[in-house]
């Protein structure tokens, strides 16, 4: 699995993945997205271990992180990233269904870069994803060591 992508998306729900990718297709960003389905795999990807031993050693330009994930949940992944010298500079956007205050507070305390609640309305959802992808993958200048735009 040697996929290059500027957007790392950690999302266990295949439907959400599909809807997100559909939204990003409008900006031709689909190919930039690496999709990981649980927290453990996400950490394996970032640390280049397990299935991802052979991958390029650059960090993604942005990490779209769901909170409710199998095995290792989103907040644990976030904590791991933000407490690691080599990973802490990766911008992390929490993309979740939850509007719960405690999730929001916990995320910000751990140093999340943005917190986005997935809107129920499809148009709003598409707009949110498009803006996110646009901003973090194209507008934002990622930290050194990230995958560059080709």
């Amino acid at each position: 699995m040697d996929i290059l992508g500027r957007i790392l998306m950690v999302e266990d729900d295949a439907r959400d993945v599909e809807l997100t990718l559909t939204a990003l297709a409008d900006y031709n960003l689909t190919n930039e997205v690496v999709v990981i389905h649980d927290g453990e795999q996400a950490l394996d990807y970032l640390y280049r271990r397990g299935n991802f031993k052979a991958r390029n050693n650059e960090n993604p330009a942005v990490l779209l992180l769901d909170l409710k994930l199998p095995k290792v949940d989103g907040l644990e992944v976030l904590q791991q990233i933000k407490s690691d010298e080599t990973l802490r500079m990766i911008p992390v956007v929490v993309l979740t269904s939850s509007r719960e205050e405690r999730d929001m507070v916990a995320s910000y305390k751990l140093g999340v870069n943005a917190y986005v609640v997935k809107p129920v309305d499809f148009h709003e959802f598409v707009n949110a994803i498009k803006e996110l992808g646009m901003f973090w993958a194209i507008v934002n200048e990622p930290p050194p060591g990230s995958i560059r735009k080709m």
Binding site: L19, S97, E100, V120, F122
Partner: protein, 498 residues
């Protein structure tokens, strides 16, 4: 009267006392002479001795000596040869000697006897005084409501006051002489040997004892013991006072039970709160996703098949999308409502004038283009959580705006009055569509609506939210209305912190 005699001796004047000696000897002489006239001889001796004895007894030692001297002279003059002369024959000297000796002996005996009698009387007086004093003390102890009794070192009851009779039901006559611990079936909290040891060491002991009354009922008493020692330091008696604390113990027990129950209920409540929170959390995470997917895929389907869908199918698709969106709103409202119950309140003094201005700015977009006459009085300060109170007012004001939409000239009034010095009542009155008072109880229920969604939009969570906020502030919400004649909503809120 007898006890006054020794003091009488002291009260008598010396002249009276010596006169008594003279008079008694003279009477003895007269009687002896009278007897002699009737040829009764030999009575003079005992008569003079009697006079001396009388003098000793009533007049003391000095007059007795005078009586002896006078008696001897009279005896010599009138009754010994030669008669009517004071000449004493040597052969009669032993006779005088014996007489004087006898008189001295009599005086001595009398003096000793009188001293003994005086001492006896004194000690009896002292005893009587003590008895009177003790009786008085015992009577005083009878006056107290406290239970007091005394027992000797072998626990036999020797004193039993009226308080003891009232508490335990035995009279003093019944109790005195009984073994106290057997009579009262005393139950000690610690071994009795330890109690005795402490009593002997410190002279005191106090603690709680269980005892049984004459009627068999049990009492708990706060008991205090004091040890009485005699002059040599020997323990002689134990004074015990008891206070019935059964009621107090019962109340304490009740309070303990209530506290236990309260603790259990609090735990239950905390558990159910946690459950509720977990429930809300999982709704927040899990329930919204399928709705989002329904809306998303319906949208994609519509987009991809727009050309092949007929009018009807297109309407179906729109209905699916709208329903999904509504479901999303309902879930969000419900979560918001449950958050009000769970969130901590941060109470401060809130300026209601400023708050209402703030609220009007928020509902501005619903007001635009409307003809609304606002009547807003000067409003007082409230005490509460600003953001929650704001939410409550936003709900009420936007309701008033919404339900006056059909009026060509809408009128909305925000005012207040003081309910009492601790509470302020704020009201929001409108001239909108109003409601039927028979449904007033349903107004504040979650998702309860009195109007069809087509007429007035909304999920029906607004007033439930208002009520929840005001209840959390310790206040009350109520409403008055008439169909087509407007509605008034009242909130009572604390005006200052407690």
């Amino acid at each position: 009267m007898a006890k006054r005699r020794p003091s009488l001796l002291k009260e008598l004047h010396p002249i009276q006392r010596y006169g008594l000696a003279v008079v008694s000897v003279a009477i003895a002489l007269g009687m002896a002479l009278l007897m002699q006239r009737y040829s009764l001889r030999g009575v003079e001796f005992p008569l003079f001795l009697f006079a001396i004895a009388l003098t000793v007894w009533f007049a003391g030692d000095g007059p007795a000596v005078l009586a002896v001297v006078l008696s001897s002279l009279a005896f010599n003059y009138f009754f010994t040869e030669p008669l009517y002369s004071l000449y004493i024959r040597t052969t009669e000297l032993p006779y005088y000697f014996v007489f004087i000796l006898f008189a001295i002996l009599l005086t001595w005996f009398s003096t000793v006897r009188r001293r003994v009698e005086r001492e006896l009387l004194q000690s009896r007086d002292a005893l009587e005084r003590e008895v009177a004093e003790r009786t008085q003390q015992a009577n005083l102890l009878n006056l107290t409501h406290d239970t007091i009794f005394v027992r000797d070192t072998s626990d036999i009851i020797t004193y039993w006051n009226r308080g003891a009779q009232e508490l335990y039901g035995w009279t003093a006559e019944e109790a005195i002489g009984q073994h106290s611990h057997q009579l009262l079936q005393t139950v000690f909290p610690i071994p009795i040997d330890e109690v005795r040891a402490e009593l002997l060491r410190t002279g005191r002991w106090d603690g709680e004892l269980r005892k049984t009354k004459a009627d068999g009922s049990r009492v708990v008493v706060a008991s205090r013991w004091s040890l009485r020692r005699d002059e040599r330091g020997q323990a002689v008696a134990i004074l015990e006072t008891n206070n019935d604390i059964s009621d107090r113990k019962r109340r304490e027990e009740e309070i303990r039970k209530l506290n236990d129950e309260l603790g259990k209920r609090t735990t239950d409540l905390e558990a159910s709160n946690k459950e509720l929170e977990a429930f809300a959390y999982s709704i927040s995470h899990d329930l919204r996703a399928p709705i989002r997917h329904m809306a998303g895929y319906a949208e994609l389907l519509q987009k991809n098949s727009a050309s092949v869908l007929d009018e009807k199918s297109h309407r179906y698709m729109m209905t699916i999308l709208e329903s999904a969106k509504r479901m999303g709103t309902l879930i969000d409202d419900l979560l918001g409502f449950s958050r009000i119950g769970r969130a901590e309140t941060r109470a401060t003094t809130v300026n209601l004038d400023l708050l209402v201005k703030d609220v009007l700015r928020e509902v501005q977009q619903d007001i635009d283009g409307r003809n609304i006459a606002w009547k807003i009085s000067a409003l007082p300060d409230l005490y509460g959580d600003r953001s929650m109170l704001r939410l409550a007012l936003v709900n009420l004001v936007s309701n008033a705006v919404k339900f006056t939409r059909t009026r060509p000239q809408a009128e909305i009034e925000i005012g207040c009055f003081e309910k009492n010095k601790d509470e302020v009542v704020v009201f929001i009155r409108d001239n909108g569509v109003g409601f039927d008072m028979k449904y007033v109880d349903k107004l504040f229920g979650v998702f309860r609506r009195l109007h069809p969604a087509e007429a007035f939009e909304g999920t029906g969570i607004g007033l439930a939210t208002v009520q929840r906020i005001i209840l959390r502030h310790g206040g009350k919400v109520w409403a008055e209305g008439l169909v087509d004649r407007g509605a008034t909503f009242f909130l009572s809120v604390p005006s200052h912190g407690s």
